[in-house]
Amino acid sequence: MSIALVVDAKGLTRRFATKEGAVVALSDLDLQVEAGEMVAIVGRSGAGKTTFLQLLGALDRGYEGSLKIDGRELRALGDRALSRFRNGHIGFVFQAFNLLPDLTVGANVIMPAHFAANLPTADAIGRGRALLERVGLPDVWDKRPLTLSGGQRQRVAIARALLLQPKLLLCDEPTGALDLATAAEVLALFDDLRQEHGTTLMLVTHDDVVRDRCGRVVTLEHGRLTSDVRRSA
């Protein structure tokens, strides 16, 4: 029986042109991630974690080698197809939350539905309300993001990321702006989601607590994958 790979990177390399010459941010990286895994990506600053996350998030197609997400080679997709793919398959949770401050919480949560082809607004609203309830924020629909605490904002961002039920959830320092208790709540939420929906989670983190909650830890150094450790549950 074949195992479903959500992420399949082979010889993945990313170079950036600078005035001083080409800088290699990622070099010859091989990594396969199965559905439902929770993977921590760790490493020092400048190790290539964020670059890797952006490649995984289909925000950057300037790579060499091969990168397949849910079986699709990203470089082969045009702008429109790539945007649609990102919209339907990938969810983002940022350290700085990146909620749109001029919109209400509800409007932020259903924003991905604006770019989805087949999700009526009424359905999106229903799904958004259910997600907010799921993340423990049933009463903030009409509030502005700036009126919420950091932990609440991060949970709103998670609800937004999950609206279209992505197969891959990418998180960049998801607990970086949170206190310990709130961070623990968010991590518990990630665990639940993984178990309930089989969502694959890949988290860039410096936080040992986060790293310890993940079943797999991938370490990057100078753009190279130097360690890939699986832990037993």
Partner: protein, 589 residues
């Protein structure tokens, strides 16, 4: 991304950037306000001033003149015959071509006692125009008369004589009735008195004292009613076994009565034996005046004998009224004439063959005629009066000889549209014609007005261009401020087209808002200028009631131009937005 959702996002962005949006909208509104203001002014000046003096679709052409030692003339050129006029009418783009003849006989004119309390006297110059050319103006007079008659009927006013009725109406069976002025302007209602054929214009012969084409003599039945089916101003008479309609003869109490407008004096007494309009059940009173609204026109200034005639219908150039209102009224200490309609139906006298300045015609060929104002038209001469063409031709022939009436002086050409004017001018010039001085002035004036109008509209476009540059700057700034939001939208699934549309739509909303505000500003500015002008330009000639004319197409056109400029102005910021690298932006702290 669906349009409704896109607009919702645009609305949210604009609300968040309302100060910048307000400045951008004000900038666009200034440009649109300029544009609408100047277009409205240009259209108003053209419609209410230029067309009032020189109708845009009318050309006046005349045989090309040659200047020899400072004297203009048309040596060696054939006269302007009916045939040449007909050839002009065949030119593509010409709706109709009608000949016009100027009066070659001296004439004096006096009148105005009804309005001024005393008579004004002047030398008179006439243009003979065909009724067809003035049909629109005469219909306007008829509408005014019909409206006044309708008001009279509603108030149950009765009449005994025509003077009891509103101007332009006649008294019939105790009630006021409308009058068809266009018919009165036609040759058929005119009495063209003659002694011999030589006193008649070409094509007419002198039949029983009046010029007529033999074929047009109207037959009648002597045993049918008062008139034997003749028009009101004629009677049925038998000559040589044939009954035809002919003028009703009358006599004035004194020769001087022909210079009176008093109906009791001017209508005289009918002298023609037989049936007449006053006969009741076959019994005719021995002495009765000319029928209602007619007067007894004496055969010459010293005669008491004459014929019952309609007053001569005359059309006046509105410029005369402007000159009266602006200069004459004040200097003569008279009230200004508020509306031309007041003058409809005003009677005055014309002394044909008499002059203040030149040698008079033979006394026997002079005639005093009553005339009535039946309309205003820029086709009438600026310093004269338009009369029925047949009347001018007849008197030119009677006083100056048939040659004076043999050809037209000019041709009035109505062109289908402004686009046809240039082609028609080329065609008539190739036929040996040139534009009359009046038409040349009209075209020069029109060109100057158009160039000024064009310059102001171009200036408006420059202002709009500056506004568009401002839009570019504003949107570029907003894109820079919102680059993180745009990157998030890209991360959530927005395509580059979605991002570009958001920016372009924001520009379009600036255009829509600026366009609407600009239209309101232009309208308010126009009203303000008109209110100011009404006080500042009071008494000046040709000042219209309204300077501005906002045509229906201007509103969508102004909005379209505003939106178009703003969309163009948003293209560069939109391209910049699409080139934002979400990975780079989102990785920045």
């Amino acid at each position: 991304m669906k349009a409704g959702r896109l607009l919702g996002l645009v609305g949210v962005h604009l609300r968040a950037s309302r100060v910048s949006a307000a400045f951008a909208i004000v900038g666009v509104s200034v440009g649109v306000a300029f544009l609408c203001f100047f277009v409205g002014l240009g259209e108003g000046v053209r419609a209410r001033v230029l067309n009032k003096i020189f109708p845009a679709d009318q050309l006046e052409i005349e045989p090309r003149a040659v200047r020899i030692f400072g004297v203009e003339g048309t040596p060696g050129q054939p006269g302007l015959s009916e045939a040449r006029v007909a050839r002009v009418a065949q030119i593509p783009g010409v709706v109709r071509a009608l000949g016009k003849q100027k009066s070659a006989f001296p004439a004096k004119l006096w009148g105005g006692r009804q309005l001024l309390g005393y008579d004004l006297h002047t030398e008179a110059f006439f243009d003979g125009l065909p009724a067809e050319l003035l049909r629109g103006e005469l219909a306007q007079t008829e509408r005014v008369a019909a409206s006044a008659v309708a008001r009279g009927r509603r108030s149950a006013e009765r009449c005994d004589v025509e003077e009891d009725c509103p101007a332009g109406a006649r008294c019939l069976d105790g009630g006021c009735e409308d009058v068809a002025w266009a018919q009165r302007f036609d040759a058929a209602t005119l009495h063209l008195r003659c002694g011999t054929d030589t006193e008649c214009a070409a094509g007419l012969t002198c039949v029983r004292g009046r010029c007529a084409a033999a074929s047009t003599l109207r037959s009648c039945q002597l045993d049918q009613g008062d008139h034997g089916a003749c028009p009101e101003h004629q009677r049925c008479a038998s000559h040589d076994g044939r009954a035809t309609c002919e003028p009703i003869r009358c006599r004035l109490a004194a020769a001087a009565d022909q210079r009176s407008l008093d109906p009791a004096l001017a209508r005289g007494k009918i002298t023609t034996a037989g049936k007449g309009p006053s006969c009741i059940a076959g019994q005719c009173p021995t002495e009765r005046p000319c029928p209602s609204r007619l007067y007894c026109a004496a055969d010459d200034p010293d005669s008491r004998e004459g014929t019952c005639e309609w007053p001569l219908p005359t059309v006046v150039n509105p410029l005369l009224l402007e000159v009266f209102n602006s200069d004459m009224a004040a200097s003569l200490n008279l009230a200004r004439v508020a509306s031309p309609e007041i003058l409809y139906g005003v009677r005055y006298h014309i002394a044909v063959g008499d002059s203040h300045f030149t040698q008079d015609a033979a006394r026997a060929r002079q005639q005093v005629k009553q005339a009535v104002v039946v309309g205003f038209s820029p086709k009438a001469p600026e310093l004269g009066v338009a009369l029925p063409l047949a009347f001018v031709q007849h008197n030119n022939a009677r006083i100056r000889g048939q040659d004076a009436a043999a050809s037209f002086d000019a041709v009035l050409v109505q062109v289908r549209s402004n686009e046809d004017v240039a082609g028609v001018i080329r065609a008539v010039e190739s036929m040996g014609f040139s534009l009359s001085r009046r038409s040349r002035v009209a075209r020069t004036f029109g060109t100057v007005v158009f160039l000024i109008y064009l310059a102001l509209v171009l200036l408006s476009f420059v202002v709009l261009g500056v506004a568009a540059a401002n839009i570019t700057h504003t949107l570029a700034m907003l894109v820079h401020e919102r680059r993180r939001e745009l990157a998030v939208l890209r991360a959530l699934g927005a395509t580059t087209l979605d991002v570009a549309l958001i920016v372009v739509l924001e520009g379009a909303v600036f255009g829509l808002g600026g366009g609407l505000l600009g239209i309101i500003l232009a309208w308010a500015g126009a009203r303000g200028v008109e209110r100011f002008a009404a006080d500042a330009l009071r008494g000046m000639p040709l000042v219209p009631d309204q300077f501005f004319d906002f045509p229906p197409w201007l509103l969508p056109a102004a909005l379209g131009v505003a939106i178009g400029f703003c969309v163009i102005g948003s293209i560069i910021p939109a391209r910049r937005a699409t080139r934002l690298d979400p990975a780079t932006v989102l990785s920045q702290p």
